[in-house]
């Protein structure tokens, strides 16, 4: 199967402003006092967290369980949440990531990255030159040569449209490290694809 990269298809980034982040933090504070208020955050982020977990699990039922577990843990530990200048969703992503890792540790299964075809096109856009055509199966085979942390960084940056600050918070690294990890992953992908061209 071959795909042609159309650079006009660029997804709109879903970044929220600092003001919105602060308003959201007020909701979190209200939810600490009254857990019923947590529903606002639950409704806002359920789909995003579900999609994120599904991308790492590729099983609908397990994803539903882990998503529920993520929100339950968030609700339990809401008092411990402290404002770090990133959206509340970053904290949820961090919990979700830990839940996914725990799931793989417990089941001893091989980790999965399940990408949507359109999302994948967007990722390849970042690693190749304009108007290039690539065999998508070949790209996937090449990506197996990359390490897990590189794929994770690419996933957060290009599929979840996370800022470097959010990535740093989710992966529990510094912002500089998040940038470095992402650029290094893009560079690796680019080199792997160039090898094919050469």
């Amino acid at each position: 199967m071959r795909i042609t990269i159309d650079h006009k298809i660029i997804e709109a980034r879903k970044h929220i402003s600092q003001e919105e982040i602060r308003i959201e933090f007020e909701t979190v504070k209200q939810a600490v006092k009254n857990p019923a208020k947590f529903q606002i955050l639950y409704d806002r982020y359920f789909t995003a967290i579900f999609n994120y977990i599904f991308r790492r699990i590729d099983d609908e039922e397990i994803t539903a369980d882990l998503t529920s577990q993520t929100f339950l843990k968030a609700l339990k530990n809401l008092r411990k949440y402290s404002f770090k200048g990133v959206p509340f969703s970053a904290w949820l992503y961090r919990i979700a990531s830990n839940e996914v890792n725990r799931h793989y540790q417990q089941t001893n299964k091989k980790m999965v990255f399940s990408f949507d075809e359109r999302e994948f096109e967007h990722l390849i856009e970042q690693g190749v030159e304009e108007e290039s055509a690539y065999d998508i199966d070949y790209v996937i085979r090449q990506m197996h040569m990359m390490c897990e942390s590189d794929i994770e960084a690419l996933e957060l940056r290009f599929f979840e449209s996370k800022s470097f600050a959010e990535m740093a918070f989710i992966l529990e690294i510094t912002e500089a490290n998040a940038k470095m990890r992402t650029y290094r992953a893009i560079e690796k992908l680019r080199n792997l694809l160039k090898r094919r061209k050469g």
């Binding site: 999609n51 339950l72 999965v112 990255f113």
Partner: protein, 95 residues
Amino acid sequence: MTKFDIRLRRSRFTQTRIESHKNYQSLMERHYESSKKKTRGVMVLVILLILTIAILVAVFNNPKEPKQESPKENMSFDISHYQSETMEIEAFYKG
């Protein structure tokens, strides 16, 4: 052999399908249930702590038993019966 597998999905999840897994009521029930368990656990711990303290207080505040006096230190003899015998003899000779 790689530690992970990359798969490609041709179709996306519909919002309705994701919504079908949403259940805030169940989440709240689980939350309250775990809160109850936590409260019970804390109560058991507090009771255990109080019991431990009570036992420790009882052990260390036990009033000391009076020391038994050693016979060497107190060599007293009961001589009352000798005195009464002497008095009887004296009365016999006088009488």
